[in-house]
């Protein structure tokens, strides 16, 4: 579909500190940044872009609690309710012996739940195709992608602004 093709201006940055200053500056001018692509995690970039803190740690906690409950329910049902047995002279609810398995199940569900959530919300999957604005962004360049249709400023103004804030080159690209 021709109308779904969007026009982007791409600012290419070499240095992460220049990049961070540029993002802050460009956003102050009222430019709406589509996304920034980097070869490595740049510290402070989420703050500069105004992203909220990821809530994945909350997900991890909830999955972990699920694991704890699941492990305890399983063991109490099996060892205390379904087939009670005296093992090592302990009573039918030998809680201390449940601790290791409870801990492991908590960690297991927490880790898998969080990573699964991360893969789903970030749309990462083996059959996923990466939409690369600039192939160098997995090598040594930081790419600031700005969608023209979503901005009041025109192409030349954005280009000028990016150049002024330290972009080594400014390119254009159409993506669907």
């Amino acid at each position: 579909m021709a109308d779904s093709i969007k026009n982007f201006v791409l600012g290419v940055f070499e240095d992460e500190d220049v990049l961070l200053k540029a993002i802050t500056k460009v956003r102050k001018e009222g430019v709406n940044i589509h996304e920034v692509y980097s070869p490595f995690p740049v510290h402070g970039i989420e703050k500069a872009l105004g992203y909220n803190r990821s809530r994945l740690s909350i997900a991890a906690f909830l999955f972990g609690m699920t694991g704890t409950c699941l492990a305890l329910t399983m063991m109490i049902y099996m060892m205390t309710i379904d087939w009670p047995m005296i093992i090592g002279g302990k009573d039918f609810l030998p809680f201390p012996t449940f601790i290791p398995v409870t801990f492991e199940m908590t960690v297991l569900l927490s880790a898998f739940g969080m990573v699964g959530t991360f893969l789903v919300i970030s749309d990462l999957k083996p059959w996923g195709k990466a939409k690369m604005f600039d192939i160098r962004s997995t090598d040594d360049k930081h790419i600031v992608a700005i969608e023209l249709e979503k901005n009041k400023l025109n192409k030349t103004k954005i280009t000028k602004l990016l150049k002024a804030s330290g972009a080594s080159e400014v390119n254009e690209k159409q993506m669907d």
């Binding site: 803190r53 960690v107 969080m114 997995t138």
Partner: protein
């Protein structure tokens, strides 16, 4: 007054740029396999094949093929299990605990160490699984599954069952942690392949990279995931060897029934794990010319971890002897007296020499910054750690409560073959990893290039 703090030794030398990092690491994946790599792979596969025969006989004829007897019911199999699991502790320790402590030097070594961890845990898991004899029934013995005995469930009061949960959780969480870290690097290799027009490798690494594009939003989530996984993996890595030690400590066998086992085993695990990381990395670094990434400083820091954990292990050995004497229990006293002076004195002596004495040489800066010395001591430490487990297991068992049932353990060639099999698997897996996966975490190294590389200093 202008005060400038002392510049630390750079972690990455050679004035690398971001592009150099991609180049140096990805090139190893893209190059044709070298002759020496093929020879090494061939040797590993032969070990796997020869050892595979021992595994086949063990499965077909039963574990009677091993040298076990009625008195010594656990010997090489559990020794190998604990040894491999111990080795499998360094990777997650490096990537999780050192991440929480913000130790940037971990970044050059975590990938290879984690890979080694995963392969070592597979090698470890093999031994208890094969010791079950009828492996195919193991699911019902080890997992809480409904069965034909009217749901006679597995025993959650048994440390052996805790081990099943601990090892499988540790393995799968380490695998996930490792893979999440690999995704951005696979994307780098994918895009290099796209650029060079290599379609097959572009699609393979494309699938492996899960469609990673390096968006800031994804990186921010990735960082959260890495931090939380590190937080989860830290107690996990400590729990695994704690639970392994409980296989022994919760029993009533003199020599095993010891409360210091958990911390002592964890220290020993880190000790042997770092030694194995050193052994492998010194070779990898040399063969792949990674001297700028894994510098002498990295080796030195790992050697310091070895002195610390080696000394903890040494103190544990002496504490054990002291407590046995101090307990006043004659069985306990005899177990340790026999351990030091009995027919297995040579195993005890090897353990002491390799684990307590040899790492003390690292107090000398000349030795801990010397590659050849580090390499030799790293191997000596792993020999010592194998003997430690052998000493704990066999010397505690071979003189039973009744002198008429005293015996010795003699391994058969099938015991040796099983051990060979685990080595064959380990080296095959490591060789394949080091050829087809990026051996150094490119994305993380790039992130520390500016603050800790040499380029910054020279500007």
């Amino acid at each position: 007054m202008h005060v400038e703090s002392k510049i630390r030794t750079p972690l990455i030398t050679g004035g690398k740029t971001l592009h150099d990092v991609s180049n140096d690491i990805s090139r190893r994946v893209e190059d044709k396999p070298s002759v020496s790599w093929l020879i090494a792979l061939g040797i590993s596969l032969i070990m796997l094949l020869v050892g595979g025969y021992a595994v086949y006989r063990t499965l077909w004829d039963g574990i009677g093929m091993w040298g076990l007897n009625k008195t010594v019911g656990w010997a090489w199999d559990i020794t190998n299990f604990v040894w491999w699991v111990g080795i499998g502790h360094a990777g997650t320790l490096i990537s999780a605990i050192l991440l929480l402590f913000r130790q940037r030097w971990r970044m050059s070594i975590n990938r290879a160490a984690e890979a080694m961890t995963i392969f070592a845990v597979i090698c470890a898991a093999m031994f208890p699984l094969l010791h079950m004899g009828r492996l195919w029934l193991g699911f019902f013995w080890a997992l809480p599954l409904p069965n034909t005995y009217g749901s006679l469930w597995v025993n959650f009061a048994s440390p052996l069952l805790w081990d099943v949960f601990a090892i499988s959780t540790y393995f799968s969480v380490s695998l996930v942690f490792w893979y999440i870290g690999l995704i951005p690097d696979f994307a780098t290799i994918r895009d290099r392949a796209v650029k060079a027009g290599r379609t097959i490798s572009a699609s393979i690494y494309g699938a492996l990279s899960f469609g990673w594009d390096g968006a800031a939003k994804t990186w921010s989530r990735y960082e959260t995931v890495a931090l939380v996984l590190a937080g989860l993996a830290t107690p996990l890595v400590l729990s695994v060897h704690t639970i392994v030690s409980m296989d022994f400590a919760t029993s009533v066998i003199p020599g095993w029934h010891t409360t210091i086992f958990p911390p002592y085993f964890v220290a020993g695990a880190i000790f042997s794990g770092f030694a194995m990381v050193l052994t492998l990395l010194i070779i990898t670094r040399k063969v792949y010319n990674l001297e700028d990434y894994i510098t002498i400083k990295h080796l030195e820091l790992m050697n310091i971890v070895i002195i610390v954990t080696g000394s903890i292990v040494g103190i544990a050995y002496i504490t054990e002897l002291f407590i046995a004497w101090y307990s006043g229990v004659e069985y306990e006293q005899y177990a340790f007296y026999n351990r030091v002076t009995g027919p297995y004195w040579w195993a005890y002596f090897s353990m002491m020499a390799c684990n307590v004495v040899s790492p003390q040489l690292f107090w000398f800066k000349k030795i801990r910054t010397n590659i050849a010395a580090t390499f030799i001591i790293s191997i000596v430490v792993n020999i010592g750690m194998w003997f430690e487990r052998f000493v704990i297991i066999v010397t505690s068992l071979h003189r039973d409560y009744i002198p008429s049932s005293w015996g010795m353990f003699y391994p058969t060639i099938y015991d040796v073959g099983m051990y060979l099999f685990s080595f064959g698997f380990f080296f095959t897996a490591y060789l394949l990893f080091s050829k087809y996966f990026p051996v150094i975490n490119m994305a993380e190294v790039k992130s520390i290039l500016k603050p800790t590389g040499e380029t910054k200093k020279n500007k």
